[in-house]
Amino acid sequence: MSAARNLLHGVDGPRRALHRSRVPEETAVLNYLIRRLLLAIPSLLGISVILFVVLALAPGDPFEELATNPNVPPEVREALRTKFGLNDPIMVRYFRWLFAMVQGDWGFSFASRINVDTLIWQRVPTTLFVVGSSQLLALAIALPVGIYAATRPYSIFDQIANTLAFVGFSLPTFFTGLLLILIFSVSLDWLPFVYRSDIAATGWRWYWENLRQAIMPITVLGLFQAASYTRYVRSAVLDVIQLDYVTTARAKGLSERAVTLRHVTRNALIPVVTLVALQMPAVFGGAIVTEQIFRIPGIGSLLISAILANDTPVIMAVTFVFSCLVVLFNLIADLLYGWLDPRISFG
């Protein structure tokens, strides 16, 4: 993701802007915004071309199931291919898709024959809830642990935190997911491992059931993310804590708490904020593996089942929306960067 970000910075990235002549700050931000948005158009077009071509060249057929069924005459398969425009040349299909997309028509799924945007909107709330909560959990763990570990580098706490973080992001989610299922569902029988989006209960019971079924997936995703955040926070804080102004703050007789929270953390978290902003598209994109394990009806599972069924319009829509979000959040991250760090201007 950072590669994509660097790419988008191009030569006109904020760092170079430092040396430009002074322009009133608001107009500068506005100009920068417009320029970046205009730049986003060709990059999104490029992304869409690549996605479309790769999908068109990929082997497979959305109607493959019909092939082994002797009851379905081959003509039906051919008729469907023609009807859904699969027999047209790639160029024609691409421009048809592009024009429809520009007009807000995302096409329809070959598998369920309903509009792709309906399908996606059905999945968004679940994904936002599960992946969003896991991000919150990750931050809730990573910030205190990372900061505390950095203020006491190489202490026992730091060593343990480091080791756990290392273990945490070395263990893939499919492994921890299955492990949790084995312990909490199969052996202890405490938690359900099939996620249901249609819980019949109302009121508090509904919240309770939802929480119960979400605990395991949120934990799995949250701990995995927390592990990498922790290491990032720790090193960011460690960088800042050695600077002269921190020593000055200490020398002024400020309490350790005030130094850490007001002077160190604030500055150290600037890169962390960027990192979190760049993670936001993932909240939309869902977690393919974890969603599959716990049968969570999120965007990730939609994507993977669409890929398995060669349901091109759905794959195309999900991946394209995802790339739009990546581009958008890159921009937001850059704007946030400038806002948090006054040394950067958008001239």
């Binding site: 082997p59 497979g60 057929d61 109607f63 493959e64 199931e65 019909l66 092939a67 082994t68 069924n69 002797p70 009851n71 379905v72 005459p73 081959p74 003509e75 039906v76 398969r77 051919e78 008729a79 469907l80 009807k83 329809f108 799924s109 598998a111 369920s112 024959r113 309903i114 399908l119 059905q122 999945r123 299922i181 569902s185 199969v186 029988d189 359900p192 491992f193 099939v194 249901r196 989006s197 249609d198 019949a200 599959q292 394990i293 049968r295 009806p297 599972s301 939609l302 089942s305 398995l308 069924a309 060669n310």
Partner: protein
Amino acid sequence: MISKELQGLVDEVKDGALSRRSFLKAATAFGLTAPLANQLLAFNGVAMAQPASGYKPTKAGGGGPLKVLLWQAPTLLNPHFASGTKDQIASRIFFEALAGWDADGNLVPQLAAEIPSKANGGLSADGTQVTWKLKPNVKWHDGKPFTADDVIFTAEYAADPATAAYTTSAYSNIKVEKIDNLTVRITFPNPQPFWADAFVATNGQILPKHHFGDYKGAKSREAPANLKPIGTGPYKLVDFKPGDVITCERNADYHVPNQPQFDTLEVKGGGDAASAARAVIQTGEYDYAWNMQVEDDLLKRMEQGGKGRVLVAVAGDIEYIILNTTDPNVEVDGERSSVKTKHPTLSDPAVRSAINLLVDRDSIQKFIYGRGGNATASFVNEPARFKSKTLKYEFNIDKANKILDDAGYKRGADGIREKDGKKLKYVFQTSINAPRQKCQAIIKQACQKAGIDLELKSVTASVFFSSDVANPDTYTKLYCDMEMYTTTQPQPDPERFLNQCVSWEIANKDNKWLGRNVSRWSDKEADEAYKAAQKELDPDKRAALLIKVNEIFCNAHVFVPLLARTRVVAAANNLFPRVTGWDVDTWDLAAWYRT
């Protein structure tokens, strides 16, 4: 003496040689009254047997929730577009056919009042007409009555090429007419020994005309009812999220008394087979899961002390190997494996029969498939009356070696046999699927001992089973020496299934490799037997003809059948579903009950 003659007459009626009316006439001559003669026919099983479902509950409702787990999630609910079994299972909850198939391959009436037979006048003597009497007082979920108009409409809907219904083949060549509000007659262009296709089972689910009437043909995709089915089935739709979950409630107006037992039904999709088995058998989170493609050992371990059990139903699907008698390495007119070519060694029957002896079917069943398949030497296995009695299998490396020795294939320095410089080295391809790869390994090992070298190739299922004309790795291209996969027999009648053995279905470039005969091998006698079977109204003679087609291919060892696959499902210990191998899992969902 009289009874013997009578028996003869009854047999004639059974076989369709004698009409019911003439039988009654003749029987009166023997001094029997008409009702008695009728009874005689019924007794002799001319009307199809209708076994009881064993349904116990004495009132509808009160059974609580029923939770079904499909590890492939249903994506649409229109039965005529339901390509995958998952969608067929889902749409059958709401829509019903005139009749369905039970585990023994018998027709069971659902929306029909009775099964047409010669005895009840439903089948014409010449085999060209079928008259269905519909069940009276059946209501759609919205309260409108179900009538012959809906049945006629369904046929028009599916037959319209612009609709592109997957069920179209059942309707494209028939004429359906309304006799009265509760009677429809199907007329076939020529005699149909197997007439139970239109309006029956998966192909036959009846759509309500008042919901789909405006959406026939090119507009079929836009029908709101595609996602909000209004059917006649035992459960009504509450909510459907494609690819995730279907929630339903009991249909209080269901047309069978005391059914269904469950108050709500939830069908959850997604995940994988193994964890679905766990959720039913081990943790009891769900009551039923279908298609347990899980190693039998694992299922057995889960079953010990678990909350569920595994149920098995016989089916007609067969896992088999094709030995390619055409040359996959020579291109003729833009295609490899063309019928114009001859395989350098596999065209030799001796080599093929040797390979047949090198397949250890018993071990494959015992160690890989378990309850999921039964070792067999016959391409058609179910229903039993279509299974060849003469085909036997054997695993015998010595015998295979001897056959190859006698045929002049000598071992070279590398241990691989050859004759005239042509080595017995083959590419053996299948789809990526753990049991198949294990099968490949077992066969390769045995072949090695007989001096045959197999190069194992596995192709992603989505490519292997696709119809992509540009891809050389699809199963119908057969650009390899041997290939293995399962082919499905959808009806309890092998006629359509055996079109994989006829010369006019050979897959080639001209039909974009869509032809059903993948092996490319053909035999005049098989062609003739198949054509004769299509017209033969005598069930026994017809079965004999179809068995002949099967035997010709298996004896030539172009087909090397391995296992007759079974349907394996998981159900809670106290749940009694009606499982069948001839229809989808939910074919008689109304009769499922819990104790």
